[in-house]
Amino acid sequence: MALNSNGSFINQRDHQNQQSHRPEEYPNLVAKEKDLYKKIFDSLPALVFIKGRNNQLLEFNKTFEEFMRVSREELLTKSTYELFPDAEKYREDDLEVIETGKPKLNIIEEVIVPGDVLYLKTDKVPLINDNNETIGVLAISQDITQQKSLQDKLATTQEKLRRLNNELEERAKARTKELMESNEELKRINTDLDNFIYIASHDLKSPIDNIDGFILFLKESLKDRTTTDEEKVFERIGASVNRFRKTIAELHKITKVQRNLEDNIEEVDLNEIIEDIKTEIFFTIQNARARIITSFDVPIINYGKKNIMSILYNLITNAIKFRSPERKPVVKISTKKEEQGIVLSVEDNGLGLAPDEKDKLFIMFKRLHDHVEGTGVGLYIVKRIVENNGGKIEVESEKGKSTMFKILISKSKKHVAV
């Protein structure tokens, strides 16, 4: 763009026309062209305006006028300082363009117009006259108020989202912390329980030994002087003491389980384990005329030897103990590779369990049957071992028919022998 010698606005095409044609020769054409350019100029969707070196608005299109909500007269007569509260800021950009002679693009600015605050994205280019002097600034602005408000909304939403995310993260962190704390608490309670059982089993043992000793003492002192009834009482005391001793021994077993949990994990051959158990409970098997059938899809697993021994010993002896009087006991022991890991099953054809009995099965000192001897710690120990190894124990049973214990050895790879 350029200014003609009288300072009024013309465009480059006008300028060229002036050079190539004498306007007076084509008065209509020139007038028409000027009119056309003015129309184009005014109907541009962008704000186009020119400011002189002295910061005065020299020319602008209709879009500019409408945007500013100020009349053309006012815009042309008033100084920019009067028109725009932020004129000083715009002036700085203008001066930069004038001084460097280089365009300044993408200036985002807030413009206060009567009754509104709007946003413009402006490109400013130097306005050069015929003598190659910068005489002002040509500016083209886009109204970006809508975009800006959308952007602001987006930013607000993003900020909200970020805050929500943070909150969520904080909550997750707090929850994790809570969980870790309860976990610690549970571990501590477990240790306390183990210590309690240990101390109880130990501290109960000494007095019961003493009672045993004192009974012996009395028996010896009263030798041949006791009545039959008194002798019976002695017998009953002796039996009670023995039962007490047995309970203490079982309690002690539990504390041993806790310590054996660190049992070295090694490759164990389940067939060998079963043979060992069969030897150990030879007479029990013989007396009950029990059959033990094994079928191991996975014959070798990685497990603590004492632990797997303890699990199978308890489950097999239970299966025989709770046999049905109506049939010979059959205990089927098998392993299968299932999706979640190796599953070890011990199934019997014994008394079976009612649904409500299943839940009570693994509780310490819970005995479901009175007709057989036991203290009720066996299954508690089994569950403890299984769970401490990262596994799971489940029971399926039909009253009067069968019971099957299914043990998921572990989800962890360390229990799978290669």
Partner: protein, 143 residues
């Protein structure tokens, strides 16, 4: 003739001491039984014996030692004796504890010759005496 001249019984359980002492006396296991209630008292005694301050008749030719005791427990007693080279008397652990850790922790000391569970019986002590005289200190830690 008794199996031992003097037995030192170290245990805080006085009922247990009463019964143990009774068996020892009735079965003529020892001529005399001295009872102390913790490791510290026992240590004072064996120390005096070693330093010849005590009458040698007072010095035990067998110590029956419990593990769980107040003030100084059995393991601590063995440790302090060992640290002070006071190990020339045989010790037999007499305890209610069936904890293997207690067994491991005590039988590693060279002068601990056996580990038995209460109550003490004539058979058990006879067995110990046999082992002590036969192996002359050779370790045996059967039940």
């Amino acid at each position: 003739m008794s199996l031992f001249k003097k037995i030192l019984l170290v245990d805080d359980d006085e009922d247990s001491n009463f019964l143990t002492k009774r068996i020892i006396v009735r079965a003529h296991i020892a001529d005399e039984v001295t009872t102390v209630l913790n490791g510290k008292e026992a240590y004072e005694l064996v120390k005096q014996c070693a330093e010849k301050k005590a009458n040698q008749n007072q010095c035990p030719d067998l110590v029956l030692l419990d593990i769980k005791m107040p003030v100084m427990n059995g393991i601590e007693f063995l440790q302090v004796c060992n640290a002070n080279n006071l190990c020339d008397f045989p010790v037999v652990i007499l305890t209610s504890s069936v904890d293997e850790r207690d067994r491991e922790d005590t039988t590693k000391f060279p002068n601990v010759k056996d580990y038995i569970n209460k109550p003490l019986s004539y058979e058990k002590i006879l067995d110990i005496q046999k082992k002590l005289s036969a192996g002359n200190g050779e370790k045996n830690v059967s039940e």
